[in-house]
Symmetry: C4
Subunit: 277 residues, 4 copies
């Protein structure tokens, strides 16, 4: 009994690690993505029915795939120890919401879109890339806090000063911050500025200082990240090269020390030979 | 008497350096920011009164906090020797302007916004970040002067040539420079260009040379800063590594020199042994 | 017979490698480019006829040039072993489509434009630059896949949610992706946003998360490329410097090892001399 | 006579190298810039007259300054051997065009603007910065040629395909290239695209490939420049450090070689001592 269970697990493991199985999963994910895309077009009801059948088939396939991968683990709960597995499980279960139900059809469709994200968890190169991206987030943290402070101060100022001019753009601090984000992307920002300059002719200082501050902080953030990444690379390299040049130099130093000691002994012995004579 | 004063100071010092006290100050700053933000929304008078009471409480808290930090110093004037303390003191005193006074209500509100900036002076990580940003300013200095010269020349030229076409955009040299800043952010710059091209068909050269010049100078500024930061990092590293590889190489050189001298002596002694025989 | 064929080939080879011939080809390419440009202007029929004659002359010249370069090879098929030769051959043959034929006049003209590209294959510096650019494409591959996934998910979501608001912008997933590309270039993106915010007030989160994601991934892509290029340069340098410092250190290590062995032998011999006495 | 001339020259040299004199020239240049700027404002005729008097004074001052700097040279023609001197001379002589003449008043004013550029030639830091910028131009050369080829091909294609749709934007190859430059700055580029997509629904490929190509080439250009600058810095550093670590390693290698030779001799001698016994 125990043995047969174990052999079953080995079978599932073999399936999971099979390259063709991986390819099949990638293919099904791509088909699933195309099906989702297809539903955004105006298609006649016959095709729509075919798509719904296909959608059921895909949902079942994903469930079986997840089940196989769970069964391949020693304990089912081990499956949830890896972040990407939890990610896959959530996406698959969440898209179990039936698409036929007219009330939830929009939600069901939206949740099905996220199946495309499984491409990231299944293709190793994309997973590596994503891990690298996630690692870059903390080092942006405090700069984003600083950016938020700048936006908040200018947003509150803008709301106090310009609300009477255009409540649509400067109604309250959150709307003002959205307007400021628009200004920071240079999107028709002069329209915003000219409007307030009609009332406060000096208000261009508000916009120009804001643009300079955000651009300046953003540029420094970019440089900071580049530097941090480069330092990390440099450290990694020097650690790897430890067995290289730096390691060899250290070896030479240690051995030079020993050679000196030996030479001192040799000289002493020679002096004993020459002197007594 | 002297002793009791000193023990009082120690008490204040303990409060100032207490982690919970720091957390409390950060919390009050955040509440103060939220209160300021809240006043930008349309809220009924009851809430407004509550906010005013809260504002008074915050003002008093900040005064006490500054007083504690002053009292924690040996001499009160020592407090002002640190730039960030002066910064805090100014923000707190300046927001003493009463918000009830209808004449100065706008000013009082604007000044209260800057309390958010205290977040920078109180969170060490943000203070470090800010110091780094301030250090980057001087190295941008001369490039900004160069940029200003380009803007001034094109601004004056634009004003001479295009004032009759559109005085709103090219009325005088300062308005022209604002228009050119707009062009440099690519904000509806073709509208500006097509308008003048209707009169001077060759005026696209004016805009294109301006865009090339400013982009070119800006790009070089960025690269210059990246390089300078990298050089500074490199120097810091090599100084730290002085005890590392480079230091070891130097040690080996010195000891090789000594070993050579010793070998020369050994050879001479051996020659004395072999020859006379 | 064989000899005369070989001497003919040497002649063609001499022509092909001749600097003046290269200059002539460059000149003809430039003239060809100017001729193509000239046809976009409204020119009277007399000039047009002259241009058509010139076009025939250029076509014949290019055919002769390609023939010479083919004849300069040992086997004609060797010519096609170099990518740039195939590129040249395609451009020349494809522009054989007669320009007089009224049906295909547009196609014939469009194909003639690509003759300008021959400038890249003939000027060595441009060819080197182009090779470097082509090398950079694979390292962008997976980031572009990631970018496409982001665009696809947001495109499908946008199409589901906003199609009823504006079918011109969000009609289906491909139109939505074009609209999102527009948003990512900040081109009147607030117009798109304000339109959907009138129905879904929270839809600004859709745009802001999209902008943050694409900007963030793009920035990381840029940094990744810079790093990869730098690493490649670093490796190239260290390989070249192998004969430099690192090589010398290795040499010293090997010889220090030998010196130690020799010193051990010397000490043993000396001990034999001193002890038995 | 000769001596007095020489002492005169020494006097002029002393004036030229005097720090206060330099400050005076900078002040006059700034005043000259302000005067030019002032004329762009609507000012009443009394001020205008004052400005004209001031303009004459400035012109005369600049003439005297140039004369002093010429007289400070051994031979007047030596003055023209330095690029920045020629630059100064041209700016000063060219702004001799009288501003009173109503025919040439615009030209006279435009030429006077360039006096601001003298700030670059007189402030050493700006001159250094400018020299660095000029040095960066050649390394951009071939990338700009490549960029121009892309613009030319797309410009000609755009003109052939879209001229009938909108001759204002796609009339001929030069107008098309201006439109494409607009597209590359993302300035209302979707308006241009939607217009042509109404006729050719697939024309978005034209714009997207163009944007990808230009962005890609531009990015590579930036990275190329950064790399080149960094390599130059690296070489400079390693050259300076030649006397540092790398130099010491070389020294050790040479001396290790000598030590080995010496040890071989010592061993041979010792063998002669031990064996015959």
């Amino acid at each position: 009994m125990q043995a047969s269970l174990s052999s079953w697990r080995d079978g599932f493991l073999a399936v999971r690690n099979n390259k063709s199985f991986e390819m099949l999963v990638i293919a099904i994910i791509l088909i699933s993505a195309l099906v989702i895309g297809a539903t955004t077009y105006d298609i006649d009801s016959r095709w729509l029915q075919a798509i719904q059948v296909l959608d059921h088939a895909i949902t079942i396939f994903f469930l079986i795939e997840i089940a196989i991968r769970m069964a391949a683990e020693k304990h089912i709960l081990d499956f949830f120890k890896q972040g990407w597995n939890v990610f896959d499980f959530l996406i698959v279960t969440v898209s179990l919401v039936p698409i036929d139900d007219t009330d939830m059809v929009l939600l069901a469709r939206l949740l099905r879109i996220f199946r495309v994200l499984r491409l990231i968890s299944i293709v190793p190169e994309l997973r590596v890339l994503m891990d690298a991206l996630l690692k870059a987030i903390p080092r942006m943290g405090y700069v984003l806090v600083l950016m938020f402070i700048i936006f908040y101060i200018y947003g509150a100022m803008g709301s106090f000063l310009f609300e009477s001019i255009n409540p649509v753009l400067w109604g309250d601090v959150s709307i003002s911050m959205l307007t400021l984000f628009r200004v920071s992307t240079f999107e028709d920002w002069t329209d915003v500025m000219y409007e307030t300059m009609a009332v406060y002719p000096m208000s261009w200082t508000f916009y120009l200082t804001f643009i300079f501050l955000t651009t300046f902080v953003f540029m420094n953030m970019m440089i900071g990240i580049i530097l941090e990444v480069m330092q990390a690379e440099h450290e990694k390299m020097s650690r790897e090269e430890g067995t290289g040049e730096a390691g060899e130099v250290h070896w030479i130093k240690e051995h030079t020390r020993e050679m000196e000691a030996r030479l001192t002994r040799i000289e002493t012995m020679l002096e004993q030979i020459t002197k007594p004579k």
